[in-house]
């Protein structure tokens, strides 16, 4: 199979050599956006596309949207995107998902900054506070709804959030923001771009924030909570090596502490340190737009897992190459390859190291069949080799490290047909298959002993765990209404998740003791399938006089299809119960030369949430409405004074099974230059 694929890649390269030259340049998002009067993106297919023409369900949050949101964190901004669910566990920790399936340490949403993964691979989730990016340096946030594994690889199954920062080569950035707020909130951030001559460009940013954790009105042990704080720094440089070749080097660091909810729904006072370095060489050649990148991310995560301190040291190294080129007038292609190494130690019980290596090839073909019809097909094949080394804790079954010698080989695809019968109407028909690979923790990095009633049990990862396969089909229609200066859309989608991952639970022993002195074991298991269908309605527009408005409503219906012998409820995977059927947003805003005012209302319908308990249990979460907003006054010399708020409807609101979310207000003084 691999030989066949490599042969295919070789043939593609020969095709490229035969193709006409495609002299290319780097993508200037700002210039493209101004030209086409809409955002552009590469997050749908890897090729630059206008947001209205991408063959996936996507929303793009602009820098202006971010500024006007009044939000101080990314999850709050994302909560206002149609179809996104956000579980706010604390003042600095949230989990985000697309169209349901949200959970503690939500694994289905892949998050990246400029294409560099900030999703934490070892445990399979995103600790949003660790993202080394200041809100003021973000050009746009691209939100893909549904699987996009064919471009991004494993774990882009529920959706993708790709955060695009300002480009130091094209965007001149300079800002300082000072925010103070209720609940002890304080934040300072600085962003500055510099140009040295005609060939070196850099953007530097740094920020620090601290806040009080929400008041503990529940049964969460005080020792499981900590006041959130974060310090992050980032450097992004571009060196123009030749007129058509550039080297981009990005470095990032974050040091964070938060009260978060780990996958068994216990609170943990967690600490993270992340460092990442990425180098990307991009060149416009006769063979197309060639790009080679390599990055390494090191993570230290200190968490409390089943009341035991766990320290994970995770190292991810990713190298990739791709070529993007157009043949003739109607065919655009992308071919690529990626190699990834991912390793982490076992914890809380040390002694082992689990790692995998992934080799992948991918390709994309966009065919402009006519001026009204375009077809895109993308595919990717991943081959993962798992291994383990080190010792095993006493009381564990007598298996060797070779038990972990296992391969996972999976293909993923994205296909989309975009039909635009008029300049106002756009139909999309998409199909996708995404792969959610078991995390290193699932596969064996977690090792602990715990008491379950009078017994002592062991918890261990399961190297035989199968990937979850998410298949999604969607039909969408969008109509621009120039007479109303508005647009509106409707989407219907259906999704199936095969081999849903269930968590270890003391309510079900997975491996009985094989002999004297051997512990009964709890582990991760594939517990069956899950189906979802839903509908999404969106509308937005502008009204003469500086007014703007938007509204959306998303319905989802999730059904568990458990395998024999498994209960989604006790495996902490009862997504039918934990996914609200309805969520929606309404916003209204107004601006003139000096003033800007926006208000955002969000509704999440009734659902259930897991509570931390001896045995998994669900509690009712009543539907709730949140209100946020911002009023800002701009002054000369780039100075802006803004007052903003979140969760304004109640002083304390129950949004999850955890801490109650508190009303917060902020005052921000900013200067741009």
């Amino acid at each position: 199979m691999k030989k066949t694929l490599l042969a295919g890649v070789s043939a593609s390269f020969l095709t490229v050599l035969a193709a006409s030259a495609a002299h290319a340049q780097s993508i200037d998002y700002g210039a493209m956006e101004q030209l086409f009067n809409e955002p552009v993106t590469t997050s749908a297919t890897g090729s630059p596309q206008r947001s209205t023409e991408v063959p996936v369900a996507m929303e793009i949050i602009s820098a202006d949207d971010i500024k006007r949101s009044g939000a101080v964190d990314l999850p709050t901004i994302l909560s206002r995107v149609a179809g996104l669910d956000v579980l706010n566990w604390g003042a600095g920790a949230s989990d985000v998902s697309v169209r349901g399936y949200d959970q503690a340490m939500s694994p289905r949403l892949l998050v990246l900054i400029n294409g560099r993964q900030v999703y934490l691979d070892h445990y399979g989730y995103t600790a949003w506070a660790t993202l080394p990016v200041q809100l003021s340096e973000i050009r746009q946030i691209e939100v893909v709804k549904g699987p996009n594994s064919a471009l991004f690889g494993f774990n882009a199954v529920g959706g993708v959030v790709n955060i695009i920062t300002q480009n130091p080569k094209f965007d001149s950035a300079g800002s300082i923001n000072l925010t103070g707020g209720t609940n002890g909130y304080g934040e300072l951030s600085i962003v500055k771009s510099v140009k040295l001559g005609d060939r070196f460009f850099a953007r530097l940013s740094a920020g620090a924030a601290q806040m009080d954790e929400y008041k503990n009105t529940t049964t969460v042990p005080a020792s499981a909570l900590t006041d959130p704080a974060r310090v992050t720094a980032n450097i992004d440089t571009i060196t123009q090596l030749t007129d058509k070749t550039e080297l981009r080097v990005e470095g990032a660091w974050s040091n964070v502490q938060v009260s978060e909810v780990v996958s068994n729904y216990d609170y943990s006072p967690s600490k993270y340190v992340t460092t990442s370095v990425k180098a990307t060489l991009a060149s416009d050649t006769k063979l197309g737009m060639l790009q080679a990148s390599v990055y390494q991310t090191n993570l230290t995560a200190k968490q409390i897992v089943v009341r035991q301190p766990a320290r994970f040291e995770n190292k991810i190294t990713v190298a990739s190459v791709q070529d993007l080129f157009k043949i003739g007038a109607k065919h655009t292609f992308r071919i690529g390859g990626e190699y990834r190494e991912n390793e982490v130690n076992t914890a809380p019980l040390a002694g082992g190291e689990v790692r995998y290596k992934v080799a992948a090839v991918s390709g994309m073909w966009n065919w402009a069949i006519s001026d009204k019809l375009a077809l895109t097909v993308a595919g990717r094949y991943d081959s993962l080799d798992l291994s383990r080394e080190g010792t095993f804790p006493a009381g564990y079954p007598p298996v060797g490290n070779d038990y972990w010698d296992r391969s996972i080989e999976e293909a993923s695809y994205n296909a989309g047909l975009v039909y635009r019968p008029t300049q106002a109407d756009s139909f999309k028909l998409t199909a996708a298959r995404g792969v959610q690979v078991p995390t290193l923790v699932d596969l064996g990095a977690v090792q602990l002993r715990a008491t379950a009633g009078p017994f002592t049990v062991g918890v261990i990862g399961n190297p035989g765990l199968a990937p979850s396969i998410v298949t999604n089909y969607e039909v969408g229609y969008e109509r621009t209404l120039p007479g109303l200066n508005a647009k509106a859309g409707v989407s219907v989608f259906t999704q199936k998740t095969e081999d849903v991952k269930g968590q270890p639970t003391s309510s079900q022993i997975d491996m009985m003791p094989a002999g004297p002195g051997i512990l009964p074991l709890l582990s991760y298991r594939n517990i069956g399938d899950s189906k979802m269908w839903g509908v999404e309605l969106t509308a937005s527009g502008k009204i003469t006089g500086g007014y703007r408005w938007s509204g959306d409503w998303t319905f989802t219906d999730v059904d568990n299809e458990a395998a024999a012998g498994f209960s989604p409820l006790i495996r902490l995977a009862d997504f039918s119960a934990t996914t609200p059927e309805v969520r929606g947003n309404v916003s209204f805003g107004w601006s003139n030369a000096d003033w800007s005012a926006d208000v955002f209302a969000h509704y999440t319908g009734d659902h259930k949430g897991y509570i931390s308990a001896a045995a998994p249990a669900l509690v009712d979460i009543d539907g709730y409405v949140t209100l946020g907003g911002r009023v800002a006054r701009s002054f000369d010399h780039g100075i802006t004074l803004a007052v903003s708020g979140q969760n304004l409807t109640e002083s304390r609101q129950r949004q999850t099974s955890g801490l109650e979310v508190e009303r917060r207000a902020f005052v921000t003084l900013s200067k741009t230059w």
């Binding site: 340049q25 030209l35 596309q49 209205t52 300049q423 109509r479 120039p482 219907v492």
Partner: protein, 174 residues
């Protein structure tokens, strides 16, 4: 909400959407010129700073003259469009072979100067899509209701115009 009600609501919304008024968009010379100017910056070795657009018209055609007047008025003393600041000068169709000092020609509707422009190696831009699809223009641009850019590859090659690869992937080529 029951599933039956949900489906009913969706059907109602879809019907409302389809039935919503779609007013006829009118060509806006200023917007079209903005698109034209910005598109020129995506040429390899494209213009930066000040660039003059020759506005080609046929004095015997009132519609062409009216469009020329609208374009000249829109550009006025100078129009900023991305990395370029456009100025304009009127050029009669019969005088294209002798034109000089222009970065590109903006061809009003109903005028064909393809051959003369090719001889001068000048990029031609029209607001009428058929100008590009027929090969009479290198590029056609329109801003409303949605920015549409069409590039004729043969016409571009004949005047030596090479657009950047990323730009080519986002427009319609014929």
């Amino acid at each position: 909400m029951s599933k039956r009600n949900t489906r009913g609501a969706v059907a109602l919304c879809a019907l409302t959407l389809v039935a919503a008024p779609l007013s006829v968009a009118h060509a806006d010379a200023a917007k079209d010129i903005q698109v034209a100017g910005r598109a020129l910056t995506f040429l390899e070795n494209g213009p930066t700073g000040k660039a003059t657009l020759g506005v080609v018209f046929d004095p015997s055609k009132p519609a062409s003259v009216a469009e020329k007047n609208a374009v000249m008025a829109a550009i006025g003393g100078g129009m900023s469009a991305g990395a370029v600041t456009l100025t304009a000068k009127p050029v009669e169709a019969s005088a294209v072979s002798g034109v000089s000092g222009v970065a590109a020609l903006y061809v009003t509707t109903g005028v064909n100067v393809g051959a003369a422009a090719k001889a001068k190696k000048l990029i031609t831009i029209g607001s009428d899509t058929s100008c590009a699809t027929s090969g009479n223009c290198v590029m056609s641009v329109s801003a409303d209701p949605k920015v549409e850019i069409v590039v004729n590859r043969a016409a571009a090659a004949s005047v030596g115009a090479v657009f950047k690869a990323a730009f080519r992937m986002m427009i319609r080529e014929v």
